[in-house]
Symmetry: C2
Subunit: 237 residues, 2 copies
Amino acid sequence: MSWRKDQGRAERGYHHGNLKEALLQAALDLISKKGPAGFTFADAARMAGVSPAAPYRHFRDRDELIASIAQRGFEQFESLLTQAWDDGRPDTVTAFERVGKAYLAFAREEPAFYSAMFESGLPPDANPTLMAASERAFAIIRAAAERLAALAPPGMPRPPAMMMALHIWSMSHGVASLFGRGDAARRKLPMSPEELLEAEVLIYLRGLGFRTDQRPGTAAADDKPAGEKAGPWGKPK
Amino acid sequence: MSWRKDQGRAERGYHHGNLKEALLQAALDLISKKGPAGFTFADAARMAGVSPAAPYRHFRDRDELIASIAQRGFEQFESLLTQAWDDGRPDTVTAFERVGKAYLAFAREEPAFYSAMFESGLPPDANPTLMAASERAFAIIRAAAERLAALAPPGMPRPPAMMMALHIWSMSHGVASLFGRGDAARRKLPMSPEELLEAEVLIYLRGLGFRTDQRPGTAAADDKPAGEKAGPWGKPK
DNA sequence: AGCTCATGTGAACGGCTTTTACATGAGCCG
DNA sequence: CGGCTCATGTAAAAGCCGTTCACATGAGCT
């Protein structure tokens, strides 16, 4: 019974009653503290107050637990992005930037989920339901890109929405993964990750011909070429 | 002596003679096969034909071995990027794109190095010499960005080179990390990672006011606003 | 009340990391 | 050449982890 920690939880009998949930919660705690590599199955069991063998009644092995967390992470992620996108209100560009911020916020505030989702080294094709969850989350970015692409200024070739979505995703993931988490991979930056990503996306959108200095939402007013105003990186000296 | 594998190597006596190197090489093999998580110290020792305790004469622990690999990776990375940049020849934009391709090529061809460098979950501040190596590699991108920023079209605010460098780095890392390696994280893409990154960088540069459809290198010829020609993503339908 | 099956336990196996005391022999010094 | 010394490697052991298996428990159904 050395594993029985009685850490403040209600007394329980032979059966835990909610072990699967308790294990997922414990794993989240542990991963956010020590990274997905430092997390151990036995620790999670200890934290839930059960024997080291008990988790095997709920997860085939350690990887399946991590995959479960990743999946749950993608679901929360999708919901967060959906909310941030808010169907493009009040205008497409504003909503789009809100999605970028939400991406970073998720990476920062849920590092355990984020690393389980993107840095756990699981084969993504191993778990079809996991991949489906991941694709549903990406679909939000994809949908936003679609709407944005439709707004591309006339007289220019329309950028493929899928490509735009992949670009935005890679920017967001790149910033989040290199600079995003408070603890890991801290490099000295001249600006916050949020500012960095926002500037990056704005410059990118300008490169596609968008005029990012105003927010018409749906109206494309004048035709002045991009690049004659202050940039998105604050005041030029 | 079960650990003695005699795998084709020259016979040796009590002393290995080159164990440190052999361990690094073995670790590279193992990491590229099974990821940085799957790699074990004992396996590396076995592969080098020594007892499981021998590696401790050369590395304080498993993490120090991985850090050594990461450091060596950053050195090779720096050398590769330097070579790709080639001091901006034949022209800045061309050289810049070559750097992007070199980044992806490194991630693809040296996945073991790449994951040790960016995905091993080591605290980057733990090892000052490692961080220094990482900064020397980044300095190449930084220097390239500096040259590019100096070329920014007149009449526009100059983008800060440091910001450009961080943007380029995050794009490259994002693409490499999400889509770059053949095995891991494969998602179906409408284009190759190289094309994806090249388009992304070109659009970004256009957003900064660069005219990316020609390669003046140092001369900024005419003034036509960007965005009146075919985009960098191939033919618009 | 009795049965059954999901859920949890204990013990055990093999493997990994790391430490400690000991063995070996390469290189240096005289 | 002979002997010393110390870097390098070995053996053994402790402690942890993942995983499996036979067995225990008791919740829920009939």
